[in-house]
């Protein structure tokens, strides 16, 4: 636990639990925002030399993941006057348990994957997989459209962590991929959320259940 990267990653994993365990939508959004802000520091720590490119990634990540997208989500939340995630498909305690199991599996699984010498001994891979799984859990177990988008955001955070392994070898892929996916995905989902609100005056995706076999 001496490496500063690892301390940061442990905080990120703890935030996964926070987001999964709270019924308050505001806490969910802020947890994801804090996670995004912490992750913005990651390129600075992983990448030893301090270049303009790394700084640009950090600033852009912080602006998007830490401020802009959470801000949009909080605004959507205020507009429809919803505060809490009521009755998720899987309860809060069971989903915390699943998250713990997922995190343990992520640590076990990543033990089987050989790392390049410069990454040996860091928590990057297990943290990435654990965050990805938590995001997936939020996405699949929650009913509110806003919670589902937060789940997607956390899933993206997991991929962002993994991207740090390649930031020196293939910086372009990492930057373009993560930011584009995030920005466009959330942007388009934001538009759809807006339409859902106009159509149903609510953001409960349970209302979206007319189509089935």
């Amino acid at each position: 636990m001496t490496h500063p990267v690892d301390i940061l990653l442990v905080l990120v994993i703890l935030l996964n639990f926070l987001v999964l365990g709270t019924p308050s939508l505001r806490m969910t959004i802020r947890g994801a925002a804090l996670q995004g802000t912490l992750l913005a520091l990651l390129p600075l720590l992983v990448h030893r030399g301090f270049g303009w490119r790394v700084a640009a990634i950090a600033v852009a990540t912080m602006a998007l993941k830490g401020l802009l997208i959470p801000g949009l989500l909080e605004k959507a939340m205020r507009d429809v006057h919803i505060r809490r995630e009521v009755e998720p498909y899987v309860g809060f305690v069971p989903s915390l348990f699943l998250c713990a199991v997922g995190t343990a599996l992520a640590i076990l699984f990543s033990g089987n994957l050989p790392l390049a010498p410069e990454h040996a001994g860091t928590l990057l891979v297990p943290a990435s997989l654990a965050t990805l799984l938590s995001g997936f859990l939020v996405l699949t177990t929650r009913k509110k459209a806003i919670s589902q988008v937060v789940g997607y955001l956390i899933l993206e955070n997991g991929i962002f962590i993994f991207g740090q392994l390649l930031i020196e070898a293939m910086p372009f892929l990492v930057e373009a991929g993560v930011l584009l996916d995030l920005f466009v995905g959330i942007f388009i989902m934001g538009i759809v959320i807006n339409h859902i609100r106009q159509e149903f005056s609510s953001l409960d995706t349970e209302l979206l259940s007319e189509l089935k076999d």
């Binding site: 050989p114 390049a116 991207g163 892929l173 990492v174 991929g177 989902m189 259940s209 189509l211």
Partner: protein, 477 residues
């Protein structure tokens, strides 16, 4: 030259967005589609080659898939003016532009020779289709769009992680940092195997979601069920083929690294699961468009099964990509007409389609026989090739299972389709004024003729193209 195939439809999209007259706007789409097909044909006939290392290249694999998409797009585009003439209630500016952006992005995807660019194109294709799905602006289409975007975005995120895994596999193996497929194929031998395997699983899940392989298909019945005929045709015949191509590009790298056997096992498994699931859900399906969605799940299963079986199955699978794409055009466009005439796509209201709509009803029946692999249509040839590959290649169990499942799908679809087209139209259907006319049937007739032609006669240049494409996939280290 290759850039032209991407820029031309994009330019068309800009024009479509700027044109004020509705009639002219509807004709911009077929015009751009024809130009795209002509440019593609010219490049194939003129044997335009660009060397190694380029980011965009029209290789045999891209020619097969993009050729199918381009022909299907032209068919759907000529259907468009007749369709939009009935939809004067909707602003179609975004719809027309979206169709052309979809063509541009699938072209980019087909031509991309770079792992990252391939992924960006897949993402862009998804985003371009979202407004097309939401064209009707109803609560149901909103639900379908939401599910499509949520599940599709997760699939694409997983494909990104898979691409990163693949890149890291190369990095750990000490390869040069390049994501061009030429370089990946050349250096594949030294890649780190555990990372490569994990990468293939993730990419199969990611691009498999976009293809609609079971159990990642859950968005498909909703999206296809709510889509208009044109969008359904382009999703089932275009988007699935584009995602299939993305998967094939990755499969090539994995194969070159010597992990082909691992990948093929997974493909056979996913293929059979998809066909089996479709067989379960297609039986007693009373919604015509949802039935077609499950048929699409079945056929993407057949596509990956053919690749997984290897040998002549690869040829059969690539041929099936063409046949399935065109036949889905026939089915979705004709079911669109039926939907409009009866005001419903459900068997409760639809019956006697042939007597109500002689042309569209008959074409729907023809499409049903073609897609279930009846001779003399194209899918018969390709499905027969794949069954042959299974039984001849020592996969007797898979081959038998495939035959049984195809039989179940035939019976299940058959009972739905026959009760839709036979008999007398109910009184409820008399209300709509819709009639078959040339604008909305001629394009379907052309597609049906092509499907029939491919069943009767495979032109020599097409066979040699398919063989070259299959050769690239079969190459062993």
């Amino acid at each position: 030259m290759e850039v032209g195939l991407v820029l031309l439809p994009l330019l068309g999209a800009v024009v479509a967005a700027l044109v004020r007259s509705r009639e002219r706007r509807a004709w911009v789409v077929p015009a751009a589609g024809v130009l795209h097909l002509l440019l593609l044909g010219g490049m194939v006939l003129g044997n335009v080659r660009s060397g190694r290392g380029f980011w965009l290249r029209l290789d045999p694999l891209a020619t097969v898939i993009l050729g199918t998409i381009s022909v299907l797009f032209v068919v759907a585009a000529f259907y468009l003016p007749g369709y939009l003439a009935l939809r004067r209630d909707r602003d179609d500016r975004v719809f027309c532009a979206g169709l052309l952006v979809f063509l541009a992005m699938t072209s980019l995807l087909a031509l991309a020779q770079h792992l990252g660019l391939l992924w960006v194109a897949m993402e862009a294709t998804t985003l371009a289709t979202a407004p097309l799905l939401y064209f009707n602006r109803t609560a149901r289409s909103l639900e379908a769009t939401w599910k499509y975007l949520m599940i599709g975005s997760v699939g694409i995120a997983i494909a990104l992680l898979g691409s990163l895994f693949l890149a890291y596999s190369a990095h750990v193996g000490g390869a040069e940092p390049s994501l061009l497929f030429d370089d990946l194929l050349a250096g594949a031998g030294s890649f780190s195997r555990p990372w490569l395997r994990a990468a293939f699983v993730l990419l199969l899940v990611g691009y498999g979601t976009k293809m609609g392989l079971a159990p990642l298909h859950t968005w498909k019945p909703d999206a296809y069920g709510e889509a208009s005929g044109i969008v359904g045709a382009l999703l089932a015949g275009g988007m699935t083929n584009a995602a299939f191509l993305a998967l094939l590009r990755v499969y090539r790298v994995v194969n070159a690294a010597g992990e082909g056997a691992f990948a093929r096992e997974l493909l056979v498994f996913m293929g059979l699961v998809s066909i089996a699931l479709a067989a379960v859900f297609v039986v007693r399906q009373r919604d015509l468009k949802r039935m077609l969605a499950y048929s699409s799940v079945e056929h993407v299963g057949i596509l990956v099964l053919g690749i997984g079986l290897g040998g002549i199955g690869v040829f059969g699978s690539l041929l099936h990509a063409i046949n399935n794409g065109l036949t889905k055009g026939v089915l979705f466009l004709s079911v669109g007409n039926i939907h409009r005439a009866f005001g419903s796509k459900h068997l409760d209201e639809v019956s006697g389609a042939i007597s109500r709509l002689p042309v569209s009803g008959s074409l729907f029946l023809v499409g049903f026989f073609a897609i279930t692999g009846s001779p003399p249509f194209g899918p018969f040839v390709s499905e027969f090739t794949i069954v042959n590959a299974a039984i001849g290649g020592g996969h007797a169990v898979a081959g038998t299972l495939l035959l049984v499942l195809l039989g179940i799908v035939f019976i299940g679809m058959g009972s739905t389709v026959l009760s839709a087209v036979q008999g007398r139209p109910g009184t409820a259907s008399a209300g709509t004024p819709y009639k078959d006319d040339l604008a909305r049937t001629a394009p379907i007739l052309v597609a049906a003729a092509l499907v029939l032609l491919l069943g009767l006669w495979l032109p020599e240049p097409l066979v040699s193209l398919l063989e070259r494409a299959a050769e690239g996939l079969e190459a062993r280290p």
